[in-house]
Symmetry: C2
Subunit: 332 residues, 2 copies
């Protein structure tokens, strides 16, 4: 199994991408194919000690994060994003991971992989705390900005299959992100979606408010791609503030001054900050396509890339795409 990784996507590419890929290959015993410019990547890989599971797949064009997605994908057939999705299409790679231009990754996936038959809307599923006891999925985290109620039902179905197959949750609890708990609350979209979700055989537990998002009330939180995108970025923003403080703490060598209960407290604080740290989030899965695609954060460092590769690896190992193909129509 090879995971293809876009070596030229993200603010810290290619250095941090290569580092994260080597760490992931080592830690998860998985083969990683770095997609990008051969000479640069060879040089970077060479400087690392353990690299037996790393291969390089040549792609000589780069899509910048500012480029218009459709045009970029069309104009750059030899870009790391287009080559990476083609590797999945051709069965050479089991998943593709990119921290590059999100729009371009989505467009390339639509054009090169295509949607699974029966899927009306593919969506981005953000995965929080994949390494914790209670991971939380938020779907759609950004593809479909204007939604119909039936799209939200579809998102719930896709993420339910992900939660079952990839995370091993028996009967994933689905919550609808809303501005109140009562059934009567919501905007036109969520009110109608609530009624549709009730009629499915999903484990729908009702409305969820913003403050309960990451508190484990639901395994799957369903929302439209506009609200979802704003919510995950708001979490990131508040989390950032705490990251800054923790970093500042380290700079001050706080740890040295801590002992006993204060140290325990500090460690727990750092671990909570980690839960809302985008670098630890592990990326987001594009669900509903004929192939695994993981979108990592544009600010990804080596740790973020390692976690995104882990997510891509788990999706591939669980045969997620096949499970969606099999289970999709049945669960409707």
């Amino acid at each position: 199994m090879i995971i293809a990784v876009d070596a030229h996507g993200g603010d810290y590419a290619p250095r941090e991408i290569v580092k994260g890929a080597i760490e992931a290959a080592e830690e998860y015993k998985v083969d990683v194919g770095l997609v990008g410019r051969k000479s640069v990547l060879q040089m970077l890989v060479r400087s690392h000690a353990r690299k037996s599971r790393i291969s390089i797949i040549e792609a000589n064009q780069i899509i910048d994060y500012r480029e218009e997605p459709f045009q970029a994908v069309n104009d750059k057939p030899d870009s790391s994003i287009v080559v990476g999705t083609n590797l999945v299409r051709d069965g050479i790679a089991s998943s593709f991971v990119s921290a590059g231009n999100t729009g371009a990754v989505v467009v390339a996936a639509f054009l090169n992989l295509g949607k699974i038959a029966g899927v009306e809307r593919a969506a981005v599923c953000a995965v929080y705390g994949i390494n914790t006891a209670n991971p939380v999925l938020i779907i759609d985290a950004g593809v479909n900005t204007d939604c119909q109620p039936r799209f939200l039902v579809e998102f719930a179905q896709l993420a339910t299959i992900f939660a079952k197959e990839v995370l091993g949750i028996d009967s994933p609890r689905v919550g609808l992100l809303n501005n109140g708990e009562e059934e009567t609350k919501g905007n036109l979209l969520t009110k109608d979606s609530y009624q549709l979700l009730k009629e499915t055989n999903l484990n729908f537990i009702g409305n969820m408010e913003g403050m309960e998002l990451l508190k484990g009330k639901a395994d799957v939180v369903v929302t439209d791609g506009f609200t979802g995108n704003i919510v995950i970025k708001t979490i990131e923003g508040v989390g950032d503030t705490f990251q800054d403080l923790l970093r500042m703490g380290h700079a001050l060598k706080v740890d040295r001054d801590l002992a006993g209960p204060a140290l325990v407290h500090y460690v727990e604080l750092a671990s909570t900050a980690k839960q809302v740290d985008y670098k630890e989030v592990g990326g987001a899965c594009l669900l509903g396509m004929n192939g695994n695609v993981v979108i990592a954060h544009g600010r990804s460092n080596a740790t973020a890339i390692r976690n995104a590769i882990y997510l891509a690896y788990r999706a591939a190992r669980s045969r997620l795409v096949e499970a969606i193909k099999d289970g999709y129509c049945v669960s409707k």
Copy 2:
């Protein structure tokens, strides 16, 4: 100037409400009228030392937070919420503060105060960090769940007047909450709102993403009431997690173990946690009505109520309603 306060609204009413009212009266030298059941309030007030600025205004019915707003306001003319809004209508009180059933407060304000002539949609404006150097306003935080682009322009106008008059910001920067920074980003609502906002004489600085919300890029963040409500609750949720940890730290008597840089770090951490702590937020102003109404959080303790009264006091002192009446049509 009297600020009327709903003594029976919120999870910790009436005890914490009375405590907060007495603290606010003392600290801000403002007269506070507690609206509620006389015997209970007299008993509670009696137990406090300094209470010269406190009066009690009788209201013998209570609207529960679970009650359907329209029916409750209709059925309970002697409730603290209805009596409180009537005090503002009749010019006896300058503002009304309630931590009670938000829907009922909004309905009572609509029925008893009415909208300012020319205002199409009143909206809730959440105020973050009113005591800091860089307060941030988020509007609409919950009244209008389904919006037209022109509503968002109106929210921006209302909050701009608030920022100028109450916060003393010369030319408040208005940002549109969106799923990307570029002008072309957004759902149907935000794309059209962007174009309308560009044409106003507001200081519109473009789109803002969720992660920049509280970082001072804009003074006013405009969004629809559905997204706004979810966003403020998401901030609260992430903030809560850190509050829990800080409280736990106190329980462990962490402070005693801290010294030097560690103590500095801890104090700064606590202060950031405060910024996203709903108790410190100071409540939200209902803008566009013929009278000042401040909605405090349902979980309000004495500190939250004190801050909400401070907000109500500042709105009244700045003659906010008159400023909206004067400035509203001009700014269009």
